[in-house]
Symmetry: C2
Subunit: 380 residues, 2 copies
Amino acid sequence: MSTADADRLARAALTHVAEPGDALMGALLRVLGPAEIIHALTVGRIPPTALAAVPGLARAMARWAVRLGGAPVTATLDEWLRDGIRLVCPLDAEWPSQLDLLGDIRPWALWVKGTADLRYAGLRSVSVVGTRAATAYGAHVCTQMAAELAERGWTVISGGAFGIDGCAHRGALAAGGSTVAVLASGVGDPYPRGHHDLFRRVAAQGVLVSEWPPGHAPTKPGFLVRNRVIAALGRGTVVVEAALRSGALNTARHARDQQRPLMAVPGPVTSAMSAGCHEIIRDWGAVCVTGARDVMELLAFPGDQLPGPPRGPAVPRDVLDPVQTRVLEAVPSRVGWGPARIAVRAGVDFDTVMTCLGSLAAAGFVGRTDRGWRLLTKPT
Amino acid sequence: MSTADADRLARAALTHVAEPGDALMGALLRVLGPAEIIHALTVGRIPPTALAAVPGLARAMARWAVRLGGAPVTATLDEWLRDGIRLVCPLDAEWPSQLDLLGDIRPWALWVKGTADLRYAGLRSVSVVGTRAATAYGAHVCTQMAAELAERGWTVISGGAFGIDGCAHRGALAAGGSTVAVLASGVGDPYPRGHHDLFRRVAAQGVLVSEWPPGHAPTKPGFLVRNRVIAALGRGTVVVEAALRSGALNTARHARDQQRPLMAVPGPVTSAMSAGCHEIIRDWGAVCVTGARDVMELLAFPGDQLPGPPRGPAVPRDVLDPVQTRVLEAVPSRVGWGPARIAVRAGVDFDTVMTCLGSLAAAGFVGRTDRGWRLLTKPT
């Protein structure tokens, strides 16, 4: 087994032995490699350098060691891969590098299921969250906003829960867009069960993501820990409906603490489900947004075409240079192709195709699936 | 006629000859006294010093001179006074000194009708404005907010128009509070006629105010000019409902330009009548307020009791010192008494009673009517 393979397997095991967000594991990963950590847990011997560098480590190692038994092995990983579940690790091409800003509490690895490329999905993405007890108003506004964002090539990130989260995913899917559901359960058995059909559609058009192994049953603290990933993945976070001081504001707090753009949708002051939104607008400086247009205006990169009246794709095809256009036309629309095959079809060399695919992906034209590159659903 | 009387009469005439907000008249008033200006207009001769100090003055003098004919004379003033209409001039005890911040566009004088003392009413006051085309939601929120402000001893200032303005006055009146209607018509013939009963009640519990003489019929530009006074009188301005880029935002613009606290009430993003509120929250930095409590929290003076759960008066009686308490107990609750009579009843000297009445008025306990001092309706 190569070092890289050993480290992947070790990170898979880490998602089982250490709770996501455990800063001691994060600190340890700065001192030891994943495989070294698993080895230390297995043999019950901690290198003195690690002990010196991470206060409180001995007790944590004992805690982690007792969970080592059920950790995934190579055979399990292969089995999950056959079920369409892949492991995405830091340094992997699909790793969303914005997660590295979480420092010691960044995920050890992510379990991913679905057709979208997580990294590219995250490039132009918005986290849209809110209460499970959505009102008809909130559901309407959220679905509409998510659909408009998806139409412009923005990925909608949410937590897969009932209420606002569900509306966010559904709106994006209805517009033929990509969406990411970041779960507190394993992606092999996504929670809540009532969203079974929704999760199937998310996997078909976007991705399901979890820090926990595929079969994991969610815990209450897990939902809160998971929220930091929702906030970190999106370029900004929008709260659509939330009661005062409710759990629905937890993701907003993460976005604020991560110094990411935080937005909230206002509503009737007579609605308890909008009170949390008004609170964070007034007290946290969340930006008051009334729809997708406001969100895109706030999060647009310099050079992005600003949303005015609907105009088609966020970056028009005619700004592409001839070579980029040739490569784009060579990318298949449904199944994924490798870059070599695309290079042959486009009649350009391999390095050129790689450069072009990178720009095209950043502009939202193409995406990398685990089977290769393909066209993303185009805004209409 | 004393100089003071001549100046009063001259200011009354100025409200007739020069349009409110005419900055040339404001500039001229820095060079000449009111009586000197009326004299110059009458004889058609402008002092060279004034001509040198105010560019464009000659043409303006000609414009003003043609309107000199209908200007009020002493007899007219006496007649209006019998109708309960008084003239309030700068330096008068009842002059709201915050208007002086308007500089050259401050009113030359104000025509006032009603029982409240305009200066004291303005000390703890909020301007509450919005669209004439109020929705049921806006009307409900505005009435409720104005009533709660009035219950806590805050004066509600608005423009007397249909829609949000009317709700603001009505809410304050319903709570037994004081309210100020700043009109673009004369206070003797307040516009709109459909608010006849409302204006009667405003005069009975608060005041009607206008920069134009009592019989003046309003003009379209007059409403916009008037708005700067609404913004300048209140300690802050709240927009309850306004369409995008609508006239209802004109007062908000004045408040912003005057660097006064500007607030807006959010509403459904699906309501066009809340779109202006959301716009100024997002783009002008207006504070998102959901009710009277938020408004009071923002506008409270240091030392004001912060509004928590309802607690009774904004400043509790028990913070008053024994002498203040004695004076407060000597103030009549319905009719107004002069300070000398109150001094006798309280058993303190005249200077003490004047000092105490000032503090008590600032704290919202007592008010000066044109008939003297009386208790204000107490928060319950």
